[in-house]
């Protein structure tokens, strides 16, 4: 199955990148479960979105480039797509949390320019 150029160090690099991604995703999920506040949990969920996706994408690029003996960079599209969509989702969720916190009179920062939301 493996091509002749599929050396040991390429497999080792792929394995290290994959395990790093798994550990980062696990750390993000642990933070998502154990942190106290919603705004703190948003930081934890950013970990698999960025570092995890980058590590898996780099592992896929290294593996398929060695397997097909050409520069297989197609997986990069997923990282580009995530880097465009994840900030939008994060911003919308942060605004949602602020809005609902102000409606519930929770301890969130007031809107700029006004003292109290109506």
């Amino acid at each position: 199955m493996s091509a002749p150029m599929h050396a040991v160090w390429i497999e080792a690099l792929t394995a290290v990148l994959l395990i790093a991604s798994g550990l980062f995703a696990l750390a993000g999920a642990l933070g998502l479960l154990s942190l106290k506040n919603f705004f703190l949990r948003m930081h934890a969920s950013a970990l698999p979105n960025t570092v995890g996706a980058w590590c898996v994408t780099l592992a896929s690029i290294v593996h398929f480039s060695a397997l097909e003996e050409r520069f297989a960079i197609h997986t990069w599209v997923i990282v580009i797509l995530l880097s465009m969509t994840v900030p939008v989702t994060t911003l919308l969720l942060a605004r949602t949390a602020l809005f609902r916190g102000r409606q519930a009179r929770a301890d969130v920062p007031p809107p700029l320019g006004k003292r109290r939301v109506e």
């Binding site: 199955m1 493996s2 040991v8 497999e11 080792a12 792929t14 394995a15 290290v16 994959l18 395990i19 991604s21 798994g22 550990l23 995703a25 696990l26 993000g28 999920a29 642990l30 998502l32 479960l33 919603f38 949990r41 948003m42 969920s45 698999p48 979105n49 995890g52 996706a53 898996v56 994408t57 592992a59 896929s60 593996h63 398929f64 397997l67 197609h74 997986t75 599209v77 997923i78 797509l81 995530l82 969509t85 994840v86 939008v88 989702t89 919308l92 969720l93 605004r95 949602t96 949390a97 809005f99 609902r100």
Partner: protein
């Protein structure tokens, strides 16, 4: 597929499964609605990472397109849910 790479893929998939279980716990427990939306978004991302890892395992290009579709649907569903929580309706 050597023993090193298949063992690493097995360990990575175990880490992802544990992370999905913890995220699902937050999804069921979550005190507010935005916590549940955040956990659902995180579940989508971890599923995408699992499918990319399976693509490496089975050396197939089909998994890449599935992962692309999951990324798109995850973004659309999370944005729609956040918009619904913010405004009370999705399309204004």
């Amino acid at each position: 597929m050597s023993v090193l790479l298949s063992g690493a893929i097995l360990a990575t998939l175990s880490c992802y499964a544990l992370a999905m279980a913890l995220t699902a716990m937050r999804l069921f427990r979550g005190p507010s609605a935005q916590d549940r939306v955040l956990a659902l978004d995180s579940l989508y991302i971890i599923g995408l990472l699992i499918i990319l890892t399976l693509g490496i395992r089975y050396a197939s290009r089909m998994y890449f397109e599935v992962a692309l579709l999951i990324a798109l649907f995850g973004f659309v569903s999370s944005a729609a849910l956040a918009k619904f929580l913010l405004r009370g309706e999705v399309i204004e």
